[in-house]
């Protein structure tokens, strides 16, 4: 029952929150639930480290026919992602703590958190996929109902585009199980068994491509990314935090948990293509970010760039690259989550997100300027903050795999400075334009500062002391790289 509680708790409280008598009661219940989940997930660290072996805290239901068992387990990577999800859910609930949100808003976040936890815990492909698609529905309503501007179109585009990935992934997963049956004659949907035998056969490359494409849409990787800017631009602040902070990690986690272990030979063979696409994501994302006029679209493209580092780290198939990717997932969640919160606060105050809508905020809102600079620096990979460590390890992994690509990827750091600092200068330093909405922007309230400080502490902490997290993911990464 240990792990089931992790996803069942938010899933069960979601309807209660929805049916709560008053909005205030709903918010308080949601706050209680999400903090309980966070504390519970951190408490899990005890039993987790007590056990041995790669996958721990196993928990499975009755062995159904054909291996369709309800089976949960967790390793270093998924536990850290559970922490990230729980932490970001709590942060997004506290950050948007206001009265005009209806009960369904809080229920949607709890449902989203439950679905994400499910994805990171499930070891059975059927259940993995159920939670994978289930996560889309709350996010569809979060973007669609409480977003801004043309949220309906963005939500519709988001869910359809992600279903394209989802259905390709479903085809791939079923194909993987069929290939495994051809190879070993046994039917199983258990990820540990599936990844033990290497799938081969005439259909193997197509299945590999289908699964890779399915996950690539979610990551997103360069050509399949254009649902992200629209979804982020229209999502509410907390929605963007969860979308960028936790949902993008489903794709990367899928690659690490299913694709690479199931097809070690093909992953190695696909290195130039996959790493090439990763580098393309880094450079394309950064360049597009430089050209954006809307702050949220800019941060959305930076996410494409950062996720490119994860892809590069994974497909280098080196332990350093993989631990870099695992670390980058957590770091990106924190820094981009912070950025989206800040832009959300801006939008709350001035109902505008354009770079040219603001100016000279450093004088009128110094705390705003401090936190925005702090999180932006972490996002562009300033050493000493958390962004750098993940990127450096991923680059190192890529260097071991193919030096020219590593050189190209390292250009991403220059482009990062090129999109990070000018936007900061435009909004905070440059004098306000005639139609500027800066006067509307009053400085951060105590609650908002508290939320941002809780984000800033891990940002610096992981930047200077990433060792505990690296040790946590080391065994999982080691087994991945050995294949």
């Amino acid at each position: 029952m240990l792990l089931t509680g992790l996803w069942a708790l938010p899933m069960l409280t979601a309807p209660l929150v929805w049916a709560a008598p008053s909005r205030r009661a709903a918010r308080l219940l949601a706050l209680a639930a999400s903090s309980a989940v966070l504390l519970y997930s951190i408490w899990l660290w005890g039993p987790f480290s007590a056990e041995e072996g790669l996958l721990r805290l196993h928990e499975s239901g009755a062995p159904g026919a054909y291996g369709l068992r309800y089976h949960l387990a967790v390793d270093g990577v998924s536990l850290s992602l559970c922490w990230l999800t729980a932490f970001l859910s709590l942060v997004s609930i506290v950050a948007t703590w206001s009265d005009e949100r209806p009960n369904a808003y809080w229920a949607a976040f709890l449902a989203l958190e439950a679905a994400l936890m499910g994805v990171f815990l499930m070891q059975n492909l059927f259940w993995f996929y159920v939670f994978w698609d289930a996560a889309l529905i709350p996010m569809f309503f979060i973007i669609g109902l409480w977003g801004s501007g043309n949220r309906r179109r963005a939500a519709f585009k988001f869910i359809l585009y992600t279903f394209v990935g989802g259905l390709t992934l479903l085809l791939g997963l079923v194909g993987l199980v069929a290939l495994h049956h051809q190879a070993t004659g046994a039917w199983t949907w258990e990820i540990p068994e599936l990844t033990r035998a290497t799938a081969s056969g005439p259909w193997a490359p197509y299945v590999f491509l289908a699964i890779a494409a399915g996950f690539a849409v979610k990551v997103p990787v360069f050509p399949l990314h254009n649902w992200l800017p629209d979804a982020h631009t229209e999502a509410p602040a907390a929605g963007s935090v969860m979308l960028a902070g936790a949902m993008l990690k489903m794709g990367v986690y899928g690659l690490m948990r299913i694709l690479v272990p199931a097809f070690p030979a093909l992953s190695a063979a696909a290195l130039p293509w996959a790493a090439g696409l990763g580098v393309a994501s880094i450079l394309y994302g950064a360049l597009c970010a430089m050209a954006q006029k809307d702050l949220k679209r800019l941060i959305a493209f930076t996410s494409v760039s950062h996720m490119g580092f994860c892809i590069v780290g994974i497909f280098s198939l080196t332990p350093e690259g993989l631990s870099g990717a695992a670390l980058q997932m957590i770091n990106h969640g924190l820094s981009t989550g912070g950025l989206f919160l800040l832009v959300g606060f801006l939008y709350e105050r001035a109902h505008a997100r354009g770079l040219d809508d603001f100016g000279g905020l450093a004088q009128s809102a110094p705390w705003f300027a401090f936190f925005f600079a702090f999180v932006m620096l972490s996002s562009i990979g300033l050493p000493g903050l958390n962004g750098f460590v993940g990127e450096a390890l991923s680059l190192y992994g890529l260097l071991r795999a193919s030096p020219p690509l590593a050189a190209a990827a390292s250009l991403g750091a220059v482009l990062a400075a090129a999109y990070g600092l000018p936007s900061f200068q435009r909004v905070f330093w440059a004098p306000p334009g005639p139609a500027s909405r800066s006067p509307l922007v009053r400085d951060l309230t105590f609650r908002e500062q508290a939320v941002l400080w809780t984000l800033a502490v891990p940002i610096v902490g992981l930047g200077l002391f990433p060792k505990p997290l690296l040790d946590l993911v080391a065994p999982a990464v080691q087994s991945l790289a050995q294949r």
Partner: protein, 617 residues
């Protein structure tokens, strides 16, 4: 390598404590007093570094590891401090010069509204610089390297309302990032080939790296150093960095930050030694930059830009020294240069401060605005002269000795010697011109501001004087520094000394001629050669080239962001999805709903099945 003494910990702890206290307490409660904890921490760091210097002179050196930073499978990096003669010597110069400039800044920034914010940024730089000098591995050095870059971004852009300051700050950070990419790649390659980046492991058995690999890593390190120490290709940000307040220009863009690159090259001397062709190349780039800077300095009018180009030139000299003569000439010139260049910059600060009211609050002044300030600003004049003669290399002042060792090293190859002497001539030329125009001469085109310029308050001219004295007397540091670094100083032959003195004298003569021969000498000459002037103003097209390159990248970004993403790829996928409803519309209109058609289709279907069966029966 004895374990870390308490003084070593003070080096980092004091600035951190001051910053934390300043940021969380004084900046909030009483912003006018933020400089007090910071000055205290400067004093502590200066005392600690001098104590360490004493110990180091006695032959001691310390190193120790504080905690493990990154430990992925192949990448093991620790956070540690290394205090060997090289780092202690440079650290002492930085601490002393930094302390004096902090005091100067109290006076200079007194009237600025963001007084406390300035000191927080200023001390953040100081902390990063101390960290950089004392780190015991490349990755930690890289961390403080970028920290220094960040501080320079914040300080150059300190006067946020000025568009030129903002552009300069961004340009500085971007150019530094271009260099840092090379530095990062060097670090990653080191991990790749040797599995470690700690100086102790790397330099204890140099055979780890083959010469070819050492060349690649060395070159990349040099590329990083070029950005930070404003060597030829990547120096473009330094002249613009003068947009920042003068203490910033003095401390960072003259004495300490820009020397980080030279320190990096000095720190990795065993690595560079293993790469055969690298050192001469570095020397050549250094020499070329030296001449390039000198030419730039001579033609500028803005007093801070003249000093900026002079810094570029002297950094070139240090690199030349490093390439030609080894560690000692470079470090010695670095230290001496730190003193007199800081003094010169602070004198310029005094001049600007003095002329502040009459220039209508402009942050900088040109040699034309100044002129004949000898009477009204005696102390600044004295300090400036001391600094100038030391820079030009007039014996027996500090600059002469350090330049001697650099030229001695350079005389191995004729090209370097020629460039070295040219630089010697150039430096005396431009510093002479600046001295005569600013302090001595009285020309008609002067705007007559000299009359009511007033001397800076003691809190400003005392540190300036001390610095210029330090610069002048630095010559006597040669012997102890050599003993500290454990290297036999290679004195220049008498011919070399004679040649350098001759060129220095020639420089001064020419400066006197150019500056004061004819009352309208300079403006007349400028009007006659507009093309030449324009070429020099834009560094022979190199500055516009860099701006165009940056523009090209921004253009590519706009192209990708607006055209490819905005109007081709994004709408493309949406149109692909919209194809289905369109097809549905076409099909829908054709289905008319007539019963006979239904029956016809059904019969066709059944007939098709029947035919199929009979065909392949």
């Amino acid at each position: 390598m004895s374990p870390l003494p308490a003084a070593a910990l003070v080096l980092l702890a004091a600035p951190l404590a001051a910053l934390a206290f300043g940021f969380f307490v004084t900046h909030r409660v009483r912003p006018r007093t933020t400089h007090l904890p910071i000055l205290a921490s400067c004093a502590a760091v200066a005392a600690a570094s001098l104590a360490l210097l004493g110990g180091a002179l006695g032959g001691a050196s310390w190193s120790g590891r504080l905690f493990t930073w990154i430990s992925a499978a192949g990448v093991q990096v620790h956070f540690g401090l290394l205090l060997d003669p090289l780092s202690v010597s440079v650290l002492s110069m930085v601490a002393v010069v930094g302390f004096l400039i902090h005091i100067y800044a109290v006076g200079y920034m007194r009237h600025d509204a963001a007084f406390s914010r300035f000191f927080l940024y200023f001390h953040l730089f100081f902390f990063a610089m101390v960290g950089l000098l004392t780190s015991d591995n490349y990755l930690q050095l890289y961390l403080f390297w970028e920290g220094v870059g960040l501080a320079s971004f914040l300080l150059i852009g300190f006067w946020q309302h000025k568009p030129t300051a903002r552009a300069a700050a961004w340009k500085a950070f971007l150019t530094n990032r271009v260099g840092d990419v090379g530095f990062l790649l060097a670090i990653l390659l080191l991990f790749r080939w040797t599995g470690t980046v700690a100086f102790a492991d790397l330099f204890s058995n140099p055979s780890l790296l083959s010469s070819q690999k050492a060349f690649i890593v060395g070159f990349l390190l040099f590329w990083g150093a070029c950005a930070k120490s404003a060597q030829f290709p990547l120096y473009v940000w330094l002249p613009d960095a003068m947009e920042g307040p003068t203490p910033v220009s003095a401390l960072m863009h003259a004495a300490t930050m820009v020397t980080a690159g030279v320190f990096l090259l000095a720190r990795s001397y065993p690595l560079l030694e293993r790469a055969p062709g690298l050192l001469p190349f570095i020397a050549l780039v250094g020499a070329f930059t030296a001449v390039w800077g000198a030419v730039g300095a001579f033609f500028r009018k803005d007093i801070k830009r003249i000093l900026a180009y002079s810094t570029v030139s002297h950094l070139g000299l240090m690199t030349l020294g490093r390439g030609g003569g080894g560690v000692f000439p470079a470090v010695f010139h670095l230290i001496v240069h730190g003193f007199f260049k800081a003094a010169l910059f602070l004198c310029a600060g005094n001049v600007i401060h003095g002329l502040h009211d009459s220039l209508g609050g402009a942050p900088t002044a040109t040699v034309d605005d100044a002129g004949g300030l000898r009477a009204s600003m005696p102390m600044t004049f004295a300090a400036f002269t001391l600094g100038a003669v030391s820079l030009a290399g007039v014996p027996p002042f500090g600059g002469f000795w350090s330049k001697e060792f650099v030229l001695a090293g350079a005389f191995g190859t004729p090209a370097l010697a020629a460039l070295g002497l040219l630089t010697a001539l150039g430096s005396s030329l431009y510093i002479g011109r600046m001295l005569f125009l600013t302090f001595l001469g009285r020309r008609s085109w002067q705007k007559g501001h000299a009359a009511h310029a007033h001397e800076a308050p003691p809190v400003m001219w005392v540190p300036v004087l001390l610095l210029s004295l330090g610069g002048a007397l630095a010559g006597f540091l040669a012997a102890p520094l050599a003993r500290l670094l454990g290297v036999e100083p290679h004195h220049a032959s008498h011919t070399v000394t004679a040649l350098s003195i001759a060129s220095m004298a020639a420089g001064f003569g020419l400066a006197w001629a150019a500056a004061d021969l004819a009352p309208g000498g300079e403006p007349a000459w400028r009007s006659r050669h507009p093309a030449l002037l324009e070429a020099v103003e834009s560094d022979f097209g190199w500055q516009p080239f860099c701006d165009r390159a940056a523009g090209a990248v921004a253009g590519a970004a706009r192209f990708l962001g607006d055209i490819v993403e905005g109007s081709i790829w994004d709408p493309g996928t949406e149109d692909a999805a919209a194809a289905f409803p369109a097809l549905s519309e076409v099909l829908g209109r054709r289905a008319r709903g007539i019963l006979n058609d239904y029956a016809l289709l059904m019969t066709a279907g059944a007939a098709g099945l029947a035919i199929l069966v009979s065909l392949c029966f």
